[in-house]
Symmetry: C2
């Protein structure tokens, strides 16, 4: 929808017809907000809709819900679309492929039972919310961002909730092990009930409804949400001969063009240039999807925009525990054969003597030879997480830890120490080089 909006902004309806095919019944909504609908913080699903279809229609963007593109004939410039009314073919001059990512299906016995859900669309959220009405016990399978947020939502809703992860703790695919340990310890202290280091062996069912999760032990559950990550939706693209990149997502250039003339791709289904590794990456984040859609739409509309790449910046929280990351972890740097060193500082979210001071740990990863900032991870109390953005800005601008540490950041006791801890963490990391 970002692409459609930007294209429309540049070319009027008499100049460019825009049709959007959307397989679900929703457009332009905040999937990231769904856990907070489950918890009740967001009182109804409509609040998560940024723009209703009518708003697009009013701008001559013909958004068609419950329409799924089944096939693309890129040579002929045609798509085959299935809808409740049947299957039809539409011609196009320019195509934006923006199918997103979908949950990795659980290859677990019993996963098709009633009471077991993914959480992707608003319909999923509505179904889970309905199941929560009668549920007493919940299990969240997976310790990623979705798992953390749904576990919080369930627990805050009064469900007896257990998270099961095969990793050593929460967010173990996003953070280095030492930061996983800190994040996990803090989340557990905040009430997270966790079974770590166990794959789910199977789901126990009764009359077709889930009754429990076996992961080392049997954990009773009336409702189970499975969040084992997402993968780019590229099936139709593959059949159409639109090339994928090394990540398995669609290869695009900086203007969001695929390798097929007239076909663009943007969002979770497309690759993005990683500014630190210099390699293609495929992350599934609304921030990146929005920006890429915007770039595709501007270009399609005759403008000239480039997508500058990503750092993989992300943030979440479990109750009062904020967790954020950007750039590369130490482990990711090693996987890319980058010789990195790191330092982790223990500090507070405000001046130490401020009564609301909460613990905060910041890990900064730098290149051993140049002290260039490569990545950062933060775990801490209120006010900790968003500090990742300053570190992201430093990495984005290819600063080294020494230079970064001397930046003129804001200070007052309710907000930080005289040297904001991000500055100290960067300096300590640079001093390891």
């Amino acid at each position: 929808m970002s692409a459609a909006s930007q294209a429309r902004r540049r070319r009027g309806a008499d100049d460019l017809e825009i049709v959007v095919f959307e397989q679900s019944g929703w457009v332009s909504y905040s999937a990231c907000g769904e856990p907070y609908y489950l918890s009740g913080l967001v009182p109804d699903l409509d609040r998560l809709v940024a723009r209703r279809p009518e708003e697009f229609w009013a701008r001559q963007i013909d958004a068609r819900l419950h329409h799924r593109v089944e096939e693309i004939d890129a040579a002929a410039g045609k798509v085959t679309v299935r809808s409740p009314d049947g299957t039809e073919t539409y011609g196009y001059d320019q195509l934006v492929y923006a199918t997103g990512a979908s949950p990795v299906p659980p290859a677990i016995e019993g996963a098709d039972a009633a009471g077991v859900f993914p959480l992707e669309t608003l319909d999923d959220a509505a179904a889970i919310k309905e199941a929560m009405r009668t549920a007493k016990r919940a299990v969240v399978v997976g310790g990623g961002y979705l798992g953390v947020e749904v576990a919080e939502a369930f627990a805050d809703s009064g469900l007896e909730t257990v998270m099961v992860t095969s990793g050593s703790g929460v967010l173990n695919r996003s953070l280095d092990d030492d930061m996983v340990d800190l994040a996990t310890r803090e989340a557990v202290a905040a009430g997270l009930s966790l079974v770590a280091g166990h794959r789910v062996e199977k789901l126990v069912t009764e009359s077709g409804h889930v009754k429990g999760v076996v992961a080392g032990e049997l954990i009773p559950a009336d409702v189970v949400v499975v969040g084992l990550g997402t993968s780019p939706v590229v099936d139709v693209a593959v059949t159409a001969g639109i090339p994928l990149g090394p990540t398995g997502a669609i290869a695009v250039d900086a203007r969001q063009r695929t390798e097929i003339e007239g076909v663009w791709a943007a969002g979770d289904c497309a690759e993005a240039h990683h500014r630190v590794t210099g390699r293609p990456a495929n992350v599934h984040l609304g921030t990146v999807a929005n920006k890429q859609g915007r770039v595709a739409g501007i270009n399609l509309g005759g403008g000239d925009a480039t997508f500058p790449g990503i750092l993989g910046t992300a943030i979440t929280k479990y109750r009062g525990v904020e967790i954020a990351r950007t750039g590369l972890t130490e482990a990711e740097a090693a996987a890319h054969e980058i010789d990195a060193v790191a330092a982790t500082t223990s500090s507070t979210t405000t001046a130490g003597y401020w009564p609301e001071a909460e613990p905060m740990w910041i890990k900064v990863v730098v290149d051993r030879a140049t002290a260039r900032l490569l990545g950062a991870q933060i775990v801490g109390g209120k006010g900790a997480g968003k500090r990742i953005d300053v570190l992201a800005a430093g990495i984005w601008n290819e600063m080294d830890g020494h230079r970064f540490s001397m930046m003129d950041l804001s200070y007052a006791p309710p907000f930080s120490g005289t040297w904001d801890p991000v500055l100290i963490a960067a300096r300590k990391a640079a001093e390891q080089t």
Copy 2:
């Protein structure tokens, strides 16, 4: 003390004797924390002391309290020092001039009455706290950072408190008028009682004790704190022939050397290179003073450090209203004959549908020709203020608003919209060019 610590770290006591003369009875304390001692949030003054004199003595840093340097003979390498024991002369090879800034004395009739205070040292804080015990009504003269923080402290302590400022609202020397209006409106909504646009004509006294402040009207007061800004303490330097720069503070190079061989200067008494104007500036902020002291100490100790300059980044709050700035305001840009344009966005501190979402306004100032970021100002609820650091990092790295707007910043509904408002504000400003 930063300079002394860094010098000692590089040169042992057998190699370098370090003597510190301090006119007050305190070293290494957080002046910025004093308002929060007044409010009771910080229960005792000792909490504001970062390092006690004993800690410095233990590292062979001979910190002498109640010693005031009266005269410097730079040619002979001697200082004349007055202490309770009399006046003595000490020789030196290297001198660091770090006298800070002191409150501008109020040229107001009655300002010498009992119950009227500056707030600079811990002794001032102790005296005000004592006066608060019997006071019922307080007036804060001045609407700057100190005024805002002391007004909050007084009001939160139950005193009937009025702020008097000659400006149109709070922080009128730090923000553009439109942001002053927003900050003032929000602070007043949060309980600030303000008499704006009035200079204090005189203080009314009775038996030598303040009874009220006349500023258009008579405002009764048992305790008055005057915060009319601070000026660099350069009297001894001037007499010694240490050259000042155009701001009236001591001229220094990037290594914190004054123009006199063997004499360094750092902190509020010294100038700093402003990275946006390219001109010397003199700001009185602990962040800058700490960094400059560190640079002077490293260099004095035989290392090689440079101070990279400032942006004038600052932050404060009045209850739940956070206010921050960095770089140049529109007015400051105009004063420096920089052709600037600006945009102000109205957004929220979190996703709009998040229940704790609070209003946030971000003004971004850019160069009209290049869209380069020049400055930013923020007013908003919890989580708003520290966002200034991301904008500071963008200005620091000479980013333009377009490039800045595409940075990969963190997003989750409890923290921001999909596009963090700082990104949108920068883009809107750049679109004005």
